[in-house]
């Protein structure tokens, strides 16, 4: 239903939300509730290609108790709640569906005292990933998960998506770095999941919650593991004349028994785009480059770096070089981490996929990915966390071209099919969100999905937490139409 603009209240949310807004203001204070069209228009979207949903009132709580009060107010009015960090998600997880109350956690940014005994620190969900690492660095620690968006993305978002990053190959993804959480459950109750003890008793509800994409509640205080900074780091750059050789090198390195801190591959198109942005000295004539990093004690890293260089040459590397200093290392990583944005120099839109295949099948699946893009007349670039087989094919396009989006989605579906057929999975680290809901039943049996659904309902019996995400249509909380018939603003 669309209200005529004549009858729209001056402020953006419908008048019938007035009582809800009053309660939200009571919960967090007037300056921390926004109902205007501009704010709601921006929070309709995240960094994914999906066009936005419809945001209801937007709240900016500053404490765990305020989050609780917001969730309770929303429940009293039968409205769902969608949490949001920096809005850098690529699967549409933060897109508000059905005019829910949007809870921005970006103002909750405090970092507690580092507990050196437990090697942990309590942080609030709005703390930016890289800010945490910068804060810990002088103390000799860092936060290991390092998504490419780490300069912006928040710890709360990392928890919601169980985010990975290049250095998660050796250190594990976010789940391995969250010890405990205080969460506000969908009914407004606060609960502590996990604990700082080495073996917390009971079911591992912490493990169930990490990666819940906001469908199980909102983490409001998170105890994260702090990882000691390695005494020595060596970064190698190997060039290859074929993408296949780079992929095979990755498998051969792991097979040799070395687990590097990171192993990343970029193909030629992406290398050229990032080189244009960072000027890190990436070779422009190589079909693919492998960025490998080893860390640990100096002698060990020297040994491993030599071994990786030897394996790369055996697999056909045309050149292998070692980053000379920290500055060169930083530039090489900056290139890798800004790869997705850098492609906008080539086309105005991109669709970044995220599937995982067994490492041994990397080379085959990559060839299929190039063929799929060709078949749909699209340009594809490949940049991926090669060490754990996590593919990130980027489809480039201009959405203004008629029919283009359909071709992009069709190509995306083919890539997912190819990955699953190779024994892979739907998502490495971006989450399911709205992006991969429809593919869930390709991956999971009805029985699997039923169990996931029941877990979700145990946390959220009323479908009030980020509805319309993750589980496919047909399961409860997936269909949001009945949840709201809220008026849509002019912005939609």
């Amino acid at each position: 239903m669309r209200l005529a603009s004549r009858t729209r209240p001056r402020r953006g949310v419908p008048e019938r939300d007035a009582a809800l807004v009053r309660e939200l203001v009571a919960a967090v204070g007037a300056p921390n509730v926004r109902t205007d069209d501009a704010q709601r228009a921006l929070l309709r979207r995240d960094a994914s290609v999906f066009d936005g949903g419809d945001a209801g009132p937007v709240c900016f709580p500053r404490t765990a108790e305020e989050v609780q009060a917001v969730v309770r107010a929303a429940r009293r009015h039968g409205r769902a709640v969608v949490p949001r960090g920096a809005g850098t998600g690529l699967a549409g997880g933060a897109i508000p569906l059905g005019a829910p109350v949007v809870v921005s956690l970006a103002r909750m940014t405090s970092i507690g005292e580092v507990d050196r005994d437990a090697r942990a620190v309590w942080v609030e969900p709005g703390v930016v990933n890289l800010d945490l690492t910068r804060h810990l660095r002088p103390l000799g620690f860092h936060f290991a998960p390092d998504p490419s968006s780490q300069q912006v993305c928040t710890i709360g978002g990392n928890v919601a998506n169980n985010s990975g990053g290049p250095h998660c190959l050796a250190y594990g993804v976010t789940n391995a770095h969250v010890l405990a959480m205080d969460v506000v459950l969908p009914d407004g109750e606060m609960a502590r999941l996990g604990g700082l003890d080495p073996e917390p008793s009971g079911l591992d509800l912490r493990g169930a919650f990490v990666g819940g994409e906001g469908t199980l509640g909102i983490a409001v205080r998170i105890a994260v593991r702090v990882t000691p900074n390695p005494p020595a780091v060596r970064t190698l750059l190997a060039s290859f004349s074929q993408v296949r050789d780079a992929a095979n090198t990755v498998s051969a390195v792991i097979a040799s028994g070395i687990v590097p801190a990171a192993m990343e591959v970029m193909d030629q198109r992406i290398t050229r785009a990032v080189e244009n942005y960072v000027g890190a000295g990436y070779p422009l004539d190589a079909a693919a480059v492998l960025l490998a990093e080893v860390d640990g004690l100096p002698d060990g890293t020297a040994h491993d770096a030599d071994a990786i260089a030897r394996i790369a040459r055996e697999q056909g590397a045309t050149e292998v070089r070692l980053a000379a200093d920290d500055r060169e290392r930083a530039l090489l990583w900056k290139g890798r981490k800004t790869a997705f944005g850098a492609i906008a120099q080539i086309a105005p839109d991109y669709y970044l996929h995220d599937t995982v295949v067994p490492r041994s099948r990397l080379a085959d699946v990559l060839e299929q990915v190039y063929a799929i893009a060709d078949r749909h007349g699209l340009m594809v670039m490949n940049v991926f966390h090669a060490g754990d087989g996590n593919l990130h094919p980027l489809l480039l396009f201009d959405a203004r071209e008629p029919g283009m989006l359909d071709r992009v989605h069709a190509a995306g579906a083919d890539i997912i099919e190819a990955s699953l057929a190779a024994g892979g999975v739907l998502s490495g680290e971006h989450g399911i969100g709205v992006e991969k809901q429809a593919y869930m039943d390709r991956m999971f049996t009805p029985d699997d999905l039923d169990h996931q659904n029941r877990l979700r309902r145990a946390f959220d019996p009323e479908c009030a937490a980020n509805p319309g995400k993750v589980l496919p249509t047909g399961h409860s909380c997936a269909d949001i139409q009945q949840l709201s018939s809220a008026a849509r603003g002019l912005w939609v």
């Binding site: 979207r45 920096a86 850098t88 970006a106 300069q151 906008a344 912005w491």
Partner: protein, 386 residues
């Protein structure tokens, strides 16, 4: 509504959000309407989708400091500066912009500016100047005259800086001379670069000032600038006017530290000052000119210690006239800078931009221009040697 933004440039943003934390107003507000991605999305809503210019939308644009820290953070190469400048110009023409036009009028009229400055200096001494204007240092009632010593380089003297901080010009000139360059101050020949006009959206006035500046500084001599804001504006004349002549002019413009870093071996070796100096990077030096490293190259031989602030070059909140127009937001942004300065524990902060140094000094920070520090080291050593 057409905001006058080039559609291709507007379309370059992929909404990845990697700019958010580089933006000082997002950092203090956590509000996406006050982030570069948010502002660009709002420009699209207004220009492409006909959304109305509501109070919140206008506020989103007004609060942009135009520090342009989002540009180096942007892997897509979005030219945010040109997007926001076009937007501000459209907003200014809608508002009539005459109040600002009037307020900026003295900038290009040295005698009027001088008279106003003297009045302001007197008012200051009589405690009649409101604190929110952020004038900490006393505006001088008397200034030592500028004299030309040769024609190797122009030294751009500008408007407010020449009226209020001529000591920095004199120090700059002495340092350039110590490196063996004959200096010709630009003075009334080029009274104002037009940077503040560009920021305020007074496009036509900015273009007129650019033409006047180019006419006033003929020849091929490098135009050395000690104000980061002016330097950035002069380097962008090529974009502003879009002519070969303007591009050739901009190519002659060089920040004074950038210039001296190339000739650092020509400066005498002297006893360093016993100072721990924290370098504050003015946004228009770091993000626009991308010439902030030379400040360190030039300073290091002349001080005991040169330390970095830990805030990755986040804006201090000065932003030309921003600290006067948006005092609340400017103050919050400055708080972050002050805590970063506090952690660096410097004896003095070196800032190569007059706006930043005034804004920081107003909060009680000991700030000096890098050229003043180098000049002092040179002079102390010359005195000791005598």
């Amino acid at each position: 509504m057409d905001l006058g933004i080039d559609p291709e440039r507007l379309n370059a943003c992929v909404q990845c959000g990697l700019c958010l934390t580089a933006c000082p107003t997002y950092r203090v507000s956590a509000d996406e309407t006050m982030s570069p991605r948010g502002r660009i999305a709002l420009m699209r809503e207004v220009q492409d989708r006909g959304a109305p210019l509501t109070r919140e939308v206008v506020r989103a644009f007004d609060t942009c400091v135009q520090c342009r820290a989002c540009e180096p953070a942007c892997p897509s190469g979005v030219q945010y500066g040109s997007l926001i400048e076009a937007t501000k110009a459209t907003l200014a023409s809608r508002r009539g912009g005459w109040i600002r036009a009037l307020a900026f009028a003295p900038l290009s009229r040295p005698r009027l500016l001088r008279a106003g400055s003297v009045l302001l200096g007197i008012a200051q001494r009589a405690h009649l100047v409101p604190r929110r204007l952020g004038l900490s240092a006393r505006i001088p009632l008397w200034r030592a005259p500028l004299r030309a010593s040769g024609d190797d380089v122009w030294m751009f003297t500008g408007c407010v800086m020449d009226a209020w901080q001529r000591d920095v010009h004199l120090a700059t000139q002495r340092v350039l001379e110590a490196a063996g360059f004959g200096v010709r101050p630009t003075g009334a020949g080029a009274p104002c670069c037009g940077a503040l006009h560009v920021h305020a959206g007074l496009h036509d006035r900015a273009v007129a000032l650019a033409r006047r500046t180019m006419d006033g500084l003929p020849g091929d001599a490098p135009i050395v600038v000690n104000s980061a804001g002016c330097g950035a504006a002069l380097k962008e004349y090529g974009h502003l006017l879009g002519t070969d002549e303007a591009r050739a002019f901009s190519a002659r413009v060089v920040d004074v530290q950038e210039f001296l870093a190339r000739h650092v071996d020509r400066l005498p070796t002297v006893e360093p000052l016993a100072l721990r100096v924290a370098v504050q990077d003015p946004c228009h030096l770091r993000h626009v000119q991308r010439a902030h490293e030379p400040v360190r190259t030039v300073l290091r031989p002349f001080v005991r210690e040169c330390v970095e602030l830990d805030d990755e070059g986040l804006c201090c909140g000065a932003g030309g006239a921003y600290s006067v127009l948006e005092p609340g937001m400017a103050g919050q942004i400055r708080e972050r800078k002050l805590s970063s300065i506090g952690r660096a524990r410097p004896d003095v902060v070196a800032s190569a931009n007059p706006g930043c140094s005034m804004h920081l000094a107003a909060a009680g920070v000991a700030v000096r221009h890098p050229m003043e520090i180098v000049d002092e080291a040179l002079r102390l050593s010359a005195r000791a040697g005598r």
